[in-house]
């Protein structure tokens, strides 16, 4: 069929993007004149994502929304795509490029919200240890930076962040080793979606649930369960569903010539939210409703 295609290109395979898939699906229901696709690169690497977008352009895609693997330094590659099709960014922005707009949240702000959670949970201060997949990735760096900024001036300190290269066995072992190496730690932060569940399980196995404050990111079922139990202080969630849903509709409108949805500077921020014990049920229900879409 010759319906124009809009693509949503993510930065790697992860459950995080399942909500975005749901958003794309919902948008598809409202945009029958378009083909909407969500694409995973087979590896989380710049070269492979670039190649994927090149091929999409070749295949005639009209607009691409991308969560770039490394937006800061991929300016030229993204510009090349932007010169051939309408390019939008999501998840992390690439402001120097010729992208039309960015829709997503701010990882710095998300980090600051994590700091809020920590400060609320530990009014007397404490020592935090972070866990993350790729220490070098932009989203990790921004979240860590945001949290440090947020903690500045308080008695809480983020002493170290351990990386695991997205190997979950290592992620769990890192937590176990941290419990051994640093007995004075009072709080743990899981910066990637799978880090919080691994922290939760390692603490449970060690019988330390509850005695160490856990600050989470994202909405893994175990994380949400932990929040509900009160064993996880709270979690900072992004809204990839909204990114995808609103983003797709925005792109469709843009292609039709309607540029009213794009603000000056092209920044559309969908704020992250703190999900605490009281909000978790409503959030989970909403999540379920979306994916049932």
């Amino acid at each position: 069929d010759d319906k124009p295609t809009l693509a949503f290109v993510v930065n790697g395979a992860s459950d995080f993007w399942k909500a975005a898939e749901a958003g794309v699906k919902k948008a598809q229901g409202e945009l029958p004149d378009y083909n909407l696709e969500l694409k995973y690169p087979e590896q989380s690497s710049v070269a492979i994502q670039q190649r994927l977008m090149d091929d999409l352009v070749t295949a005639g895609v009209k607009a691409i929304m991308v969560s770039a693997v490394d937006p800061k330094t991929s300016t030229d590659g993204l510009n090349k795509i932007a010169s051939e099709t309408a390019l939008f960014t999501t998840d992390s922005d690439a402001p120097q490029t010729k992208r039309v707009a960015y829709i997503g949240s701010s990882n710095i702000d998300a980090g600051k919200q994590a700091a809020e959670i920590a400060k609320k949970a530990m009014p007397d201060g404490g020592k935090c240890l972070g866990f993350v997949g790729l220490l070098g990735a932009d989203n990790a760096k921004e979240r860590i930076q945001g949290m440090k900024d947020g903690l500045a001036g308080s008695k809480i300190e983020l002493v170290d962040v351990r990386g695991d290269d997205i190997d979950q066995a290592r992620a769990k072992k890192n937590v176990e080793d941290a419990l051994v190496a640093s007995p004075d730690i009072t709080c743990m932060v899981g910066f990637y979606s799978y880090n919080t569940p691994r922290i939760y399980e390692a603490l449970r196995d060690a019988g330390k649930l509850g005695s160490i404050t856990v600050v989470g990111f994202d909405d893994d079922p175990i994380t949400l369960g932990g929040v509900k139990e009160g064993r996880v202080a709270a979690t900072v969630v992004q809204q990839p569903f909204e990114w995808a849903y609103q983003g797709m509709k925005l792109m469709a409108a843009y292609l039709k010539g309607d540029k009213s949805g794009i603000p000056e500077g092209g920044l559309i921020i969908i704020p992250t939210k703190i999900i605490g014990k009281d909000d978790v049920d409503a959030y989970a229900a909403n999540l379920k409703a979306m994916s049932g879409n």
Binding site: R162, K173, G225
Partner: protein, 329 residues
């Protein structure tokens, strides 16, 4: 225990002592238990790999098999509601079938082990990712399988059951490798497959059996890994585990040319590798250096072993020549 194994053991103890001096918490029972749990997981994997390496083959697909079978296992019991006493043997059988197919391609169709298992590496991970549509397979919150969890992630008298499983498997496999006819055939085939054939051994079957053993043990460790992480992203789960397994075997004195190596060696190799990982965390070395430390130690270990051999041979000769010279006077 051979001299080689003894050297490795000493290295392990020395490294352990140094770490314990810098950070005494290394010796806390909880740390030892955590580390021995991973030794159990990776040890089972490495023993399987060792059986293949002995024959002069290699099994590069274990990481992907760990991902695929782990995904299936969790999916079976968490999503499809299959009882674990059924799912577990089913996964082991699947592992065996994968091994059988590899063995068949290698022995009957005469493909190179490296090529067959490289394709396996690519294919199984792809299948796993396709199966979950690039999502994650995991247990729901509060989903519990008490007996299974006890068997895989539990402890008895403070010792992780995974480690106990490794010990049991190691003893059985030691007997198989070093005392049984089958083990002897494995060594013989690794050294000289033609000659083994001329001696009337059905070499194809023996090699195939080695791949099946590797497949079953990999499946078992896939279950252990799945129960350890309790959640699997097929895109990254188990990546590079084949390298861990091969490295453990090589450190343990196996030659990739086949026909050499001992079961004690591969276990000690696994212990050393896990000790190194533990050390990186305990001494606060940047995580980015984790692999570099591993690579450095393997290289040094292999080098020392090799140079030690050369040195001993030379000293023996010198001794002999000195003695001879005296006698000649």
């Amino acid at each position: 225990m051979s001299k080689k194994d003894l050297g490795l053991l000493i290295l392990i103890l020395v490294v352990g002592a140094v770490v314990a001096i810098i950070n005494p918490r290394f010796l806390l029972p909880i740390n030892l238990a955590n580390t021995s749990n991973l030794i159990g997981l990776f040890g089972i994997l490495s023993i399987g790999q060792a059986f293949v390496i002995i024959t002069g083959g290699i099994e590069l697909s274990v990481g992907s098999v760990v991902a695929l079978l782990g995904t299936l296992f969790i999916d079976f019991i968490a999503v499809r509601g299959l009882g674990w006493p059924i799912a577990l043997p089913l996964i082991l059988v699947l592992g065996g079938i994968i091994g059988l197919v590899h063995g068949w391609l290698i022995t009957r169709l005469k493909l190179q082990p490296f090529v067959v298992t490289l394709c396996g590496l690519l294919i199984y991970r792809g299948v796993a990712r396709f199966y979950t549509a690039d999502g994650t397979a995991g247990f729901g919150f509060g989903q519990n399988f008490p007996e299974l969890e006890f068997l895989t992630a539990g402890r008895s008298w403070g010792v992780p059951n995974s480690f106990i499983a490794l010990i049991v498997i190691a003893i059985v496999m030691w007997v198989v490798l070093h005392r049984s006819v089958f083990g002897r055939y494995l060594y013989a085939i690794g050294k000289n497959e033609e000659a083994a054939k001329y001696s009337g051994i059905r070499t194809g079957r023996v090699v195939m059996a080695a791949y099946v053993i590797c497949g079953v043990l990999t499946a078992l460790s896939a279950i252990y890994f799945a129960m350890y992480t309790r959640s699997i992203s097929p895109a990254s789960h188990g990546q590079f585990y084949e390298l861990y397994a091969i490295a453990a075997a090589v450190l343990g004195g196996f030659s990739l040319r086949g026909g050499e190596g001992s079961l004690v060696g591969v276990i000690l190799g696994t212990v050393l590798l896990q000790e190194l990982q533990n050390l990186v965390n305990l001494l606060g070395i940047p995580s980015s250096l984790n692999f570099a430390v591993m690579g450095g130690v393997i290289l040094i270990g292999v080098l020392v072993d090799q140079q030690w051999g050369v040195f001993r041979a030379r000293r023996l000769m010198l001794d002999a020549s000195r003695k001879g010279a005296v006698a000649g006077e």
